[in-house]
């Protein structure tokens, strides 16, 4: 979980960005680049789109610097922007494709090269197949459940922060997570 010192550091850096310090923006980017891109990637399941959207996230942070006030956690704000952009992208794409199921997409991850040469071909195949099954299971979740699970599992966010990002109550987040993990248990329990 994110330490208080880290939160204060982010706010402090952002206040410096507001005052025109570009070095502080670079530090913020360094600290949050990976979490944001990884979150968006798991949401949209396409690396180039994830990077494009993540750029937009940081651009929006930069554009809003003049009006920044540290009223909430910086990461809450950051992930709120990221989830809005990802959810909008998913919605637009679904709209463009006439409600066609995205589950049929060729996953970006399938094109991944197994870079670890210590891994045997068989191990690599098992790993890829496991990856693919999890990808599909997560992708099959309703969007809001998916966002909640990704923040809970991979970003280790507390319920209150997920609630703040998704702009809902903490009990709604618990309910979203319960339903999401229930679906995932049904689909993935055999994999352990």
């Amino acid at each position: 979980m994110m330490a208080v010192a880290t939160i204060e550091r982010d706010a402090e850096l952002m206040l410096r960005v507001r005052d025109g310090d570009t070095e502080s923006f670079a530090l913020l980017l360094e600290r949050h680049r990976s979490p944001v891109i990884h979150f968006v990637y798991r949401m949209v399941q396409n690396q180039s789109v994830a990077e494009e959207l993540a750029q937009e996230v940081f651009l929006r942070v930069y554009r809003s610097r003049a009006n920044y006030e540290p009223t909430a956690k910086f990461t809450t704000w950051l992930f709120r922007i990221a989830s809005h952009l990802a959810l909008n992208w998913i919605r637009d794409r679904r709209h463009e494709r006439g409600q066609e199921s995205l589950d049929a997409d060729t996953p970006d991850g399938m094109a991944r090269q197994v870079s670890d040469h210590r891994m045997s071909k068989e191990q690599a195949l098992v790993r890829e197949s496991k990856f693919e099954e999890i990808r599909r299971a997560i992708h099959s979740l309703p969007e809001k459940q998916k966002a909640a699970v990704l923040m809970h599992k991979y970003e280790e966010m507390e319920y209150s922060q997920i609630a703040a990002v998704l702009e809902c109550s903490e009990s709604a987040v618990k309910s979203l997570l319960f339903r999401a993990y229930e679906s995932l248990r049904a689909r993935l329990a055999h994999m352990a």
Partner: protein
């Protein structure tokens, strides 16, 4: 003496305790209480085991490596932003938003035309009426009809836009999510 018994999380709508337990984010005291409870509760035991398996399986969903030129591209875009004049920066997001709202384009044109029309009506009334007349007496029936037509057109376009949105199924339903 401290109560170390826990009521069943599944029967009291507290399944998050089991999620926290599997995520290892439950404090030591409650972990001990839950483990004691699970010894006598098969449902919680089963759910915790299945959740732990899912939790561990999800570790395999690794993210992709980030492109080496991510920062370079971002800073290039930031430079572009800094070059754009302030008024353009203000207008750009509005334009971007409207660009994605095809139904709004004709409405905007009509709204602009209506605004011009209303200004013309106001000016005409100001000029054509004697200064001593009270404001309520300077209403021109034709102008009112014209304004009503414009409003009707706007309403028709709004319904048309709504119709389009309805045709696109749940596209707008996602708005509710955020």
């Amino acid at each position: 003496m401290q109560n170390t018994r826990m009521t069943c999380p599944l029967q009291t709508d507290n399944a998050d305790v089991l999620l926290d337990y599997c995520a290892r984010s439950l404090d030591a005291e409650r972990t001990a209480m839950l483990e004691t409870h699970m010894k006598s509760c098969a449902d919680c035991r089963e759910m915790a085991a299945a959740q732990a398996e899912v939790w561990s399986a999800m570790d395999a969903y690794e993210a992709e490596p980030i492109s080496a030129d991510f920062d370079r591209k971002l800073y290039a875009r930031i430079e572009e932003i800094d070059r754009v004049p302030a008024w353009e920066r203000f207008w750009a997001p509005i334009r971007e938003y409207l660009h994605g709202q095809p139904g709004w384009k004709p409405v905007l044109s009509i709204a602009a035309a209506s605004a011009v029309l209303l200004v013309v009506i106001a000016v005409k009334n100001d000029v054509s009426q004697p200064a001593v007349e009270p404001a309520s007496a300077i209403v021109d029936v034709n102008d009112v009809e014209q304004a009503e037509h414009v409003l009707e057109d706007l309403e028709m376009l709004r319904q048309f836009s709504d119709g389009n949105a309805a045709d696109s199924g749940g596209a707008n339903a996602q708005k509710e999510v955020i």
